[in-house]
């Protein structure tokens, strides 16, 4: 078995790495400090083709495989985890469900504009009382002639308030649980749809996380994605891919923190020699490098399975869980390597540590990932 990138994957990674280093990295600190959505960078990402990587060319995308898409998330997140999540959410859950489940008309209308970055996508499932327990959403969609009236609140919606198109989940048949849920494509200008409070977050500043309010929002029947009752299936269909994306984001953050720490200990002198000369520091670096390598292998392996449409639920959960825990550990250790300087905003490692935390929480908490892994193991018996 050999894990090796194709020359095309390698070329794409190099291009994204160059772009991230040249365009994003110099602004990453100010994006974090101002918490302003980096619209001009998102626009440049669109021009490069980054916002439609796994979408076929005839729909305005690049037609790259899932591994290339994952590498792009990793490289962008290395420079800025905020842009990493904007990209991952826009693509994995903002665009792909419409591409996979849309009618020919819906695909034609939405996918090319999303894939080229003219529009930004978002995905609205989570509610105040329905996070990990997604089946218990309360937003209602009531059929009224050629329309549905959507009423309810969504929270923690990434790209909320910045996106042009939202894939929104609501209950069409109460009491039916997962089978009573339907998906809707909701353009931002929809009557009765408002963006509520924007969250002030510990990290990922610059990416928008907002509440969405549906107050009898009128959504035409032709905007329903899939059949009535198919909502939960649609929501779950992108989970594996989404989790691999977050594993890649966490990998990017971990690598950035490691590189910063490694560079710092080579320069910082105490007791007359560089920190890197102390064995305790060398052992820390060795452990972190090993964990990053393991996270990378799990993530790339899951992405390879996903790329060839093989079942990968357990592998995606393992990659997500391990890679995000690794990112938290590596970023915390990186701050430690920097000592007092690491705790200041003059160095990027405190940002990496704040950014890493959420990767253990969103796209399925790491507790949920363990449940998924355990269930997969039970099913295999």
């Amino acid at each position: 078995m050999e894990l090796r990138l194709s020359s095309e994957q390698e070329a794409m990674r190099k291009l994204v790495r160059d772009f991230a280093g040249r365009v994003i990295a110099p602004q990453a600190q100010s994006i974090d400090e101002t918490d302003a959505f980096p619209r001009s960078i998102v626009k440049q990402m669109g021009e490069l083709g980054l916002l439609g990587l796994p979408i076929p060319e005839e729909y305005g995308g690049v037609g790259a495989d899932y591994v290339s898409y994952m590498l792009a998330i990793e490289e962008i997140s290395y420079a800025s985890a905020a842009l990493g999540v904007i990209l991952a959410v826009h693509t994995s859950v903002g665009t792909l469900p419409i591409y996979h489940f849309g009618t020919p008309e819906q695909r034609e209308l939405y996918v090319p504009k999303l894939a080229t970055g003219e529009w930004i996508g978002a995905f609205a499932l989570t509610e105040p009382n329905a996070g990990s327990d997604a089946q218990s959403i309360q937003t209602r969609a009531v059929r009224d002639g050629d329309f549905y009236r959507l009423t309810g609140n969504k929270v923690f919606i990434t790209n909320g308030g910045e996106a042009d198109v939202y894939t929104v989940f609501a209950v069409t048949q109460p009491g039916m649980g997962a089978h009573g849920m339907s998906a809707f494509i909701v353009p931002k200008e929809t009557k009765g749809f408002h963006v509520g409070k924007k969250e002030r977050k510990m990290g990922l500043n610059g990416s928008s996380t907002a509440e969405l309010i549906f107050d009898e929002a009128w959504v035409p029947v032709e905007n329903r994605l899939g059949a009535e009752g198919e909502g939960f299936k649609i929501a779950m269909s992108q989970l594996d891919g989404g989790r691999i994306g977050i594993a890649a984001q966490a990998l990017g953050i971990a690598r950035a923190a490691f590189d910063a720490g490694k560079q710092y200990v080579a320069q910082r002198r105490q007791f007359g020699r560089p920190l890197a000369d102390f064995q305790s520091i060398q052992i820390t670096l060795a452990d972190l490098a090993m964990q990053i390598e393991a996270a990378k292998l799990l993530t790339y392996r899951a992405a390879t399975l996903r790329a060839r449409n093989a079942p990968c639920t357990m592998e995606a959960s393992m990659a997500k869980l391990f890679s995000t825990d690794t990112a938290m550990h590596v970023t915390t250790e990186a701050v430690q390597l920097f000592g007092g300087y690491g705790y200041t905003k003059d160095y990027p490692v405190e940002r990496y540590m704040r950014d890493a935390k959420v990767t253990q929480i969103y796209e399925g908490t790491n507790q949920i990932q363990r449940i998924v892994i355990a269930k997969s193991l039970a099913n295999k018996e």
């Binding site: 020359s7 095309e8 390698e10 070329a11 794409m12 291009l15 994204v16 160059d18 772009f19 021009e47 490069l48 083709g49 980054l50 990587l53 060319e57 690049v62 037609g63 790259a64 792009a72």
Partner: protein
């Protein structure tokens, strides 16, 4: 217009070079498309966009140079010729002979190349190629205009600008400042893997290894001596000037 661009894959100019057995060690070194050749590719693409035509990139080298070819194709070149043959990796004479043989098989109006490669910096191959093809060349250009078959190019000349004219077919070599090379897009990379890439050997070109064997053999390859630490002069201005003059006279002997 048929445009041919000669390219070379070189070490990344930011790469740390180390030697092994009298040659530059390739392990762990990043390779790039020679920056001067990037100007040449960009100029070819600009001409193609304005006047139409086909852009073919040609290179000589081992399998790894395919990455540089893909970069040029991703930027927008239409096709590529890769001469991959141990016997073709000689000196400037060899490369020029091999390129000439490959280019003679094509029809061309304009040939572009970088003024030099950033690795060995000899700047010989392109002008040798023009000589072998018996066409005019204008080297180290910073501006290029083509009207019909008339070519007008500008080049830096001792702090001033020299304007040179020629008729197609012509070979020009690109100097820094000619243009700002575009970055390939991701879709460009996707398209690049579907574009035609012809692999040739010396036999395909009707050349024998003996006929193109190198004329020059490197005797020794060595790294520049490590730079010593600087010295900060101390004392008042008069003292420092005196000390500086003394150093320049006695130690570095430049005065």
């Amino acid at each position: 217009m048929n445009i041919i661009v000669c390219i070379k894959q070189t070490f990344d100019t930011e790469a740390k070079i180390s030697l092994e057995n009298g040659a530059v060690k390739e392990d762990g070194v990043q390779f790039i498309l020679n920056p001067y050749d990037e100007y040449a590719v960009e100029e070819a693409l600009k001409i193609k966009e304005e006047q139409g035509g086909e852009v073919t990139v040609v290179t000589v080298g081992p399998a790894r140079v395919e990455e540089a070819i893909r970069t040029a194709l991703a930027m927008g070149a239409d096709e590529a010729i890769h001469i991959e043959d141990e016997a073709a990796y000689g000196d400037e004479y060899t490369i020029a002979e091999v390129l000439a043989a490959a280019i003679r098989q094509k029809s061309y109006d304009l040939i572009l190349a970088g003024n030099q490669a950033v690795d060995d910096g000899s700047g010989q191959v392109a002008v040798r190629l023009a000589q072998l093809l018996d066409i005019a060349h204008i080297s180290t250009i910073t501006k290029l205009e083509i009207h019909g078959t008339q070519v007008v190019a500008e080049r830096d000349a001792e702090g001033d600008t020299e304007i040179a004219e020629a008729s197609l077919p012509v070979l020009v070599t690109a100097q820094q400042g000619l243009n700002e090379p575009r970055y390939p897009s991701l879709i460009g990379i996707r398209k690049a893997s579907k574009k035609p890439l012809t692999k040739l050997t010396l036999a395909d070109l009707g050349l024998s290894a003996d006929a193109v064997g190198r004329k020059v053999t490197p005797v020794e390859v060595f790294l520049p001596a490590a730079k010593g630490a600087g010295r900060i002069l101390e004392g008042d201005t008069a003292m420092r000037v005196q000390e500086l003059v003394r150093e320049l006279r006695q130690t570095s002997k430049v005065l």
